[in-house]
Structure formats: structure tokens, C-alpha cells
Symmetry: C2
Subunit: 404 residues, 2 copies
């Protein structure tokens, strides 16, 4: 019998309505004769008592000086509460279920508290419970060190728990339930006719996740990709199947993907473009600039270097410090704050001529200046002013007929 | 350097005022050069989000069908949250501190989830942290099985955690902080001039705890007694030293105890007296009656058997069932509901003539009928109607001059 891993996010257990849907998804898959391993996040959103942010607020009032070990002990409770509540719901609906902590499920990590890495998953306890016919609920976002101390995997880590368990158990599929209806071609708050993709490749969804589409953590996708296990990203609040993430396509899926050069558009706003010109007598300019940024822990992105100088972006929040740091070492950059990085993503664009031309065409038609661009074999990025961001996303979405 | 174990109950961390007192108690003892091990219960009272009862309410709505293993996983979170919050408070006040789970502190239990027994305490982790100068905070009420599963010690179990740790660490003393100012001679809501005892023996406090004085769990006292470690029961909300529990008295303490035949009075209300008369042809009446009670899990107390029949008490809530069960097997008992069991407790009463006479005198003077009595070498019990309970306690308290 095949194993299905289901992961339910924080909003999936916080209301009675959501819980009814979760129960429905679990019952349906059980009726399909699948062995179920269910990974849960902490319940609810910010402000609700057992949400991760609320647990953190208990210590923030004392200045957030809790060491990472103790912080993990506190945060781990969020998922332990979710897991036991779901266990209770299932059993009251005559579905046999057990709840395991990360450690109980055999998820062994290193001891980097707060951002632990999974070293190994010992699946005996899960297999034993599955053989007894139990639904196995596992606390997401956590593991245990070899010496038995609770660790957390860092934010977004429940996705990683789910795909790592899926890989270790050689699951048939991993279903990530969230509050959106799959992976969309664009942010629907900005592009009204954004629609869910039926199928997408691992690399594409990784790119989208990195470029601002907050649907699933890229690390989780990479684990699924390495294990060649299909993922499904879908809504808790619907029976629709959402988006299948896979590189193994059937004929119909292959046809969809083949005809599609661009999969979606994504965006990250709130960035500042920094332009530094090379000066006489400063032959190591580029080295100095990026060493200075690294030394001050300023994250840089979208780097274009050339003999005449360097252009790159930082988050708006870091912009003042970045300029001050450069001034200190004798550089006087131009800083343009309030920019947005737009990503046009498509596994099928590699080697297809004219994609960049169509991007330029779309933006020029709308009178949107391109401040900077870059491209890889699956993504083209352009930097525009934030004021033009929505119009740019809409124009690109239309230009590549993503609404169809 | 000596080790002091401090245990703070649920109300000790739930308000800012209470937390200031807790910080004060910890700072004061640290200044006395004691190594501190601090055991905490879950925060707050019923209705507050991280209290034990509130965590249980999360699953009660689904019919309370959670297996004991999962229930312990849920309940354990209450103390983990308290421990990390206290750790944060101490560190923000420049007191180095670590928080350990029961398992992290080496408290190994059997796997009777929900009522686990401590098998062993491996103190290495605590000693290591103490040597580093840390205050060691330990989650009360919990341990871990040999296979790493979280267990709870049952209700009131944080007292047991504290005294078991004290015994394992050969502590100088164990301080139990609660919301009353030590062990009182009677319930102050009923007896207005009830006062805290300065010193009391282990056996006396065990008796008082068993007979309705809800200050400390008797099992916890027994552990301290066996290890010959003094306990102090005191208020979180005061600097007063409360009541010292010990059998090793200095000269002054010995004088106090020697002059005292009766230590205090306690009470349990809401009990029903059941009287069964022996009938012809039912020679095994007593056997039948108590087997029937046991078979139906009805807890019995205050048992007086004699050739003519048997008298005993059950809780009022069980009374109807007890009578029905007896009727089924052919007995037709007399049941008097709404009674109260009053205990007159004193380690010094053993061998002292006239204690029972003074009890009878006190109650007769007030016109209170004694429905039943029993005695051990440290306690005399009388059963009265609940309507007379307050007057009986006041009369006994006065008769033995307990207000002085």
C-alpha cells in the first residue's frame, strides 16, 4: 500500500470550518487505501494563543534573550498542541490515529537550534504505526538531536518536514495544503486573472518561491526533487486538486508544459538599487564594495558588475546603512529606493528566442522604464520602480497569455 | 555549595506581580550562595491559555478520546512554556539560566502515560549547568521514558518533581511556593483565626494533605521524608518563610512541637454515610458489599465494620450508584448524604490520654452529633453533617488553642 504525506499549515486547524475540511481530506485519501502520514504546523495566525508568533511574544516582552535551545523548546509546543488536537479530532471521527513529535517520528537533526538540519530519519516508529492501520500525525518544523533535545528547523520548516518524511518513506506523493488554490501564475491581489497552474516543474516552483511567491519553501521542493516524489500544492478549503509539481509528466501534462514558455510572474518589492562607479586609482572597487557589504551583513541581490562599476540591490531597510558603509570607504553611490524586482519564470524558455524581446515590448507599451535586467535559463528578471510594479505584472501576464 | 530546589506553582507566573515575586525569591537565594534548581508548573489558572485545564479543553470538545501518550504530549507543553518564559525573565534580569524538560533534566519514568512513576534521575545535565553558574529551570510534572517519550506524573506532580529532584541532588532544602502562607491550622475561609504553623513533621503534613488540606501532594512529602530533606511550604507573594516540614528539629522547634498535641484540623465535605445491616443468611455480607463497591469502581472511606453490619462513606456523587448496587445484591442500606469528615491531626497526640474526650466535649458543647469516628496514632476523624462542619471546625480549633 502506498504512503501519502499530507501537510497542513497553520490556518488549517484554527477554525471549525477548516478542521472539517482537514477531516475530509484525510478521510478521502484513506478511502483510496493510502497509508497517511500527516504533518502539522502550529495552529492559527498571529494573535491566536498557540501560533508560533504568539509563543514568541511570551518572551519578547522580556527582551527576547532566550538562548536558541530554550527558544526551540518553547516553539516546539505549538506543533505538539496542533498534532494532539488533530489526533483527538480524527479519533472522535473513528479514524485511528497517533501523534508523534519530530523526535518520536525519528527525525534526527544536528544541534543548530533554531535552524537545525535533518541528518537522518529513522522511520521504524512511523512504519510500525502505519502497519497497525493508524494515521500517523507528526509535528512539523521540529526534530531532535542525538542527545534528545528538541530542535526546530527554522521558519517554513514544516514543508521541509513533510518532504523529508516523504523522501525517507518513499511516499507516492506529498500534498501541501495551504490557503491558496495551488501555485498561481501571479499574485491574484495584483493580477486579477491569475489562475492556478495544473502542473509545474520542481525548478520552476523553486524559482517562484525564491522570487517572492510564498507558497512553499524552496528547500522543501529540492528534497522532493532529489527523491523524485511528486508534490501537490492545494487548498485546505476546497476539493480542487491544485498544482502538481513533478518532472515526470504524462502525455497530457507534457503537452501543457511543452506549449508553455512562461509559467508565471513573481515579484519582490521594497528594494533599493545601488549604482557605484569605478573611480581612478580604485582598481579593486568591486572587491571593496562587496567585502564591505558582507562585513556589515547587508544582503545583496541582482548584481551586475562591469568595468565601469557595479549595480546591485539591497532591501530598502538596509539602504541607508549600505550608502554609509560605501561612503566610509570612499565611494559615493547613487541609490534609488522603492524599486521592485519582477521575475518572469518558465522552465520552457530555455533556448527559445524572443522571450526578452516580448518582455521589453510589454513594458515599453506601458511606458515602464527597465532599470536593470538579468536572466538565467529559466527566469528573466527586470527591476522597475515600485509605482509601476502592478502595471508591469499585469502587462507581462497578458503578454504571455498566462490567464488562459 | 548547597543546592536549593524551588518549586513555583501555576499562579506564580501568570501575572507581572507574581513574576516580580518569583524573581525576588530566586535573587535572594542566589545571594545566599545556593545553587538553584527551579521546578515550574504550567502557567495560570483555568481559563488562561497555557494552563493545564485549558490545554485539556482543546481536546475535550472532541470527546476526550486522546490516548494517554498523546495526552501527555499535549499537557507537557504547559510546563515547557512556563519554563522557557521564566528562563527569559531571569536572563533579562542578568541571572544566567537554562531551561530543561523533564527528560532533559534526566527524569526517567516508566511508560504509564498520565500517571508515570519516576524510575531514576540522571543528574549529570543539572550538575553540569549548576557548575557553569546557571539557575537550572526544570519543567515540573513530566519525565521521559527510556525510549524518549514524554510522560506526565499525574496531577499535583510538580511537587513530586521537586522533591524527587531534591532527593536525587541531595538538596539542602526544597521550597514549595504556593498561594498560601504555609501550612495553616485550619482552612482560613472557615476558621478565621487559623494561622500558619512554623514547623511540622512529614507525617502530619501527609495526613493533612490526605484529609483535605490541598497544600502539597502527599507523595511528594513522602519522597522528602525518605531522603530526610526539609521542605518549606511558603507563599510566592510574601517574604515570610511559611512552614518548615522536617523531623530534624533544633531545640526551639522541638519545644514548639513537644508542647503541641494537635497540629491542625482539616475537612472533606460532600460525602455520604452508608450503613448496611447484617441480615440472616448473609454471612458474607461485608465481603459482598466491598466487592460490589470495588467492582463498580466506587471509592470507599471511613470504614467501620462490626458483627452487626458495616458503615462507610462514599462521595455524594457516587451515593445513588452505591445504593443501587447494594439493592441489586439484596442489601437495603441507609444512606445519609451531605456529611463532612473532620480530621484532628497531631503527631504529638500518640499516647496522650484525653484527646478524644476533648473532641467529644467540643462537639457536644455545640450540640453537634458525631455520626461516626475513627482514629490512628496521629489523627482522629469524626463524621458530622455538613451543616455543622464550620461550627465543628471552629470549636475544635478553639478547644485545642490552635490560634495561639
Amino acid at each position: 500500500m502506498g504512503i501519502l504525506v499530507q501537510k497542513f499549515g497553520g490556518t488549517s486547524l484554527s477554525t471549525d470550518e477548516a478542521r472539517r475540511y482537514v477531516l475530509g481530506h484525510i478521510s478521502r485519501e484513506r478511502q483510496r487505501q493510502l497509508d497517511l502520514v500527516v504533518v502539522v504546523s502550529a495552529m492559527g495566525r498571529k494573535g491566536e494563543p498557540y501560533a508560533t508568533d504568539t509563543l514568541l511574544s511570551l518572551i519578547h516582552e522580556h527582551g527576547d534573550n532566550l538562548p536558541p535551545r530554550e527558544r526551540d523548546m518553547l516553539l516546539g509546543c505549538g506543533e505538539m498542541i496542533s498534532a494532539t488536537v488533530l489526533c483527538s479530532i480524527l479519533r472522535s471521527n473513528s479514524i485511528p490515529a497517533v501523534a508523534l513529535t519530530g523526535g518520536g517520528a525519528g527525525i534526527i537533526t544536528d544541534s543548530q537550534f533554531g535552524r537545525a538540519r535533518i541528518l537522518e530519519i529513522r522511520t521504524e516508529a512511523i512504519h510500525k504505526a502505519l502497519q497497525e492501520g493508524q494515521v500517523v500525525i507528526v509535528t512539523g518544523f521540529q526534530g531532535v538531536t542525538e542527545t534528545g533535545e528538541l530542535t526546530t528547523l527554522g521558519r517554513g520548516g514544516s514543508d521541509t518536514s513533510a518532504t523529508a518524511l516523504g523522501a525517507a518513506l518513499r511516499a507516492e506523493r506529498i500534498d501541501i495544503y495551504t490557503d491558496v488554490n495551488g501555485i498561481l501564475t501571479a499574485d491574484p491581489r495584483i493580477v486579477k486573472d491569475a489562475r492556478p497552474l495544473s502542473v509545474v516543474g520542481y525548478a520552476e516552483i523553486c524559482n517562484m518561491a525564491r522570487q517572492g511567491a510564498k507558497v512553499i519553501h524552496p528547500r522543501a521542493v529540492e528534497i522532493a526533487q532529489q527523491a523524485r516524489i511528486p508534490l501537490r500544492v492545494r487548498s485546505t478549503f476546497s476539493e480542487e486538486e491544485g498544482t502538481l509539481v513533478t518532472d515526470s509528466l504524462d502525455a497530457e501534462q507534457a503537452a501543457i508544459v511543452r506549449d508553455r514558455y512562461v509559467t508565471g510572474v513573481a515579484h519582490v518589492s521594497g528594494v533599493t538599487q545601488i549604482t557605484v562607479h569605478a573611480q581612478d586609482g580604485h582598481s579593486d572597487m568591486q572587491l571593496h564594495v562587496f567585502q564591505a557589504m558582507a562585513h556589515h551583513h547587508i544582503s545583496v541581490d541582482f548584481i551586475n558588475v562591469n568595468p565601469g562599476g557595479a549595480v546591485y540591490t539591497v532591501f530598502d531597510a538596509d539602504a541607508d546603512q549600505a550608502v554609509a558603509v560605501l561612503n566610509e570607504i570612499g565611494y559615493y553611490p547613487k541609490a534609488v529606493s522603492g524599486c521592485a524586482k519582477i521575475s518572469v519564470i518558465g522552465g520552457g524558455m530555455n533556448g527559445v528566442p524572443g522571450i526578452m524581446a516580448r518582455i521589453v515590448e510589454a513594458l515599453t507599451e506601458e511606458g515602464i522604464p527597465i532599470l536593470q535586467s538579468a536572466d538565467s535559463n529559466t527566469t528573466i528578471w527586470v527591476l522597475v520602480r515600485e509605482a509601476f510594479m502592478a502595471k508591469a505584472l499585469q502587462a507581462l501576464h497578458a503578454k504571455f497569455s498566462l490567464h488562459q
